[in-house]
């Protein structure tokens, strides 16, 4: 199945202690942690997108009889809509640095949502005593690199996760991959997964000479890394200078001293935005004056009150 669906089916093998062939180093402590998450008791046990399991197998590793079941499960899950996209980049040398960017194209609560990043080694040919034969194992877990809460929850949001690790002499570096998932730890539902060979990662997506994990605009060329408002988002990708476009300053005008100017013209501008719903991204950020996530006549009233209170000209 892995060969039949290379673009849409990703696996990880958590190697069960007791079935370790020869002098291999396949046993890792993370096996228990991950197994306990799903209540794994016996093997073989497969867990699909965190929510559907199969338990048991056939003697001598004959999985042919399970293809129908696995295919049915796969077909029921593949192509489901998800708000998440995962991009994995980084640089591989004597050590490996990675940056995983999670982005959203629809809203979804971040309650109990976590990002997990694993290191796996593909195509391990070894003697497996349980089957009494040599076998090619795919994506055997080598390390659980990261497990952190996901903070984003709205369309257009993105969040980056960075890390690094040293290569082991016991690994074949040509076959190492990084796998990242978004999973809800309450329901166990996995909402997205992505994998990349460490040698196929791009260390500098925008080719501006600044590595991804140091770049304040990862996808836009900005070698000088200008950041006027010091919000760690470079000017090249920060459509709103947070120094001028503060809450209420609809038209972005300033006083003689350069400070944002909020006056009756901003009120008229806000009314126009509500009527026509035509506004820039910067203006969108400053329109929700009362911070209730709805831009309407109540924001106009609050803006007027802001002006009357003398907070701005």
């Amino acid at each position: 199945m892995l060969e039949d669906y290379p673009e849409t089916l990703i696996n990880i093998e958590w190697h069960s202690p007791g079935y370790t062939p020869g002098n291999s180093d396949f046993d890792i402590p993370e096996y228990s942690t991950r197994g306990n998450l799903y209540g794994v008791n016996g093997t073989p046990h497969t867990q699909w997108n965190g929510v559907q399991e199969t338990i048991g197998g056939y003697p001598n590793g004959d999985w042919e009889a399970w293809i129908g079941t696995f295919t049915s499960i796969y077909n029921s899950m593949v192509g489901d809509n998800t708000p998440y996209d995962i991009q994995i980049n980084g640089a591989a040398g004597n050590s490996v640095t990675y940056d995983v960017i999670i982005s959203m194209d629809a809203d979804m609560s971040n309650s109990n949502q976590k990002v997990d990043i694993f290191l796996v080694e593909d195509n391990i040919w070894s003697y497996w005593s349980g089957a009494g034969s040599y076998h090619n194992a795919h994506n055997v877990a080598r390390d659980w690199l990261l497990s952190e809460n996901l903070s984003i929850s709205e369309a257009g949001d993105s969040e980056a996760f960075y890390g690094s690790f040293e290569l082991s002499d016991n690994w074949n570096s040509d076959s190492l991959k990084i796998i990242a998932i978004v999973q809800n730890y309450s329901t166990k539902q996995i909402y997205q997964v992505s994998e990349v060979n460490i040698n196929e990662m791009n260390p500098d997506i925008d080719d501006d000479g600044i590595l991804n994990n140091s770049d304040n605009c990862i996808e836009l060329w900005n070698p000088e890394q200008e950041d006027t408002d010091d919000d760690l988002l470079g000017d090249a990708c920060d459509p709103c200078n947070n120094i001028i476009y503060v809450l209420g300053n609809m038209n972005g005008d300033v006083n003689m001293d350069g400070s944002p100017k909020i006056d009756v013209f901003d009120v008229i501008k806000l009314i126009n935005f509500i009527q026509t719903e035509q506004f820039t991204l910067c203006q969108n950020e400053v329109m929700n004056v009362n911070n209730d996530d709805i831009v309407n006549i109540m924001d106009v009233i609050d803006l007027i009150q802001l002006i009357l209170n003398g907070n701005n000209e």
Binding site: E7, T8, L9, I10, N11, I12, E13, W14, H15, S16, G18, Y19, T20, Y31, R34, G35, Y38, T43, P44, H45, T46, Q47, W48, N49, G50, G57, G61, F70, Y74, M77, V78, G79, D80, N81, T82, P83, Y84, D85, D105, A106, W128, A131, H135, A137, A155, I181, I190, Y191, Q192, V193, S194, V264, V267, I271, Q275, E277, I297, I301, I304, I307
Partner: protein, 62 residues
């Protein structure tokens, strides 16, 4: 022209303007809102990412 309007303070004038605008354009917002909501739903569904399948195998063999 009502001379009294020009005798109002700037603050009061703003409030009068606001009330006038809300009365004049309040009814026009609804059909625009409904149409835009429908278009937004269509665009959001069409643009959502497609999920891959992730299988975790706890075993000694795969």
């Amino acid at each position: 022209m009502n001379k009294k309007y020009f005798l109002l303070s700037d603050k009061t004038r703003i409030i009068v303007l606001l009330l006038a605008f809300s009365q004049l354009f309040g009814q026009k917002l609804e059909p625009i809102d409904i149409g835009l909501m429908q278009v937004r739903e269509i665009v959001e569904v069409a643009s959502r990412s497609s999920q891959k399948v992730f299988v975790e195998d706890f075993t000694g063999l795969l």
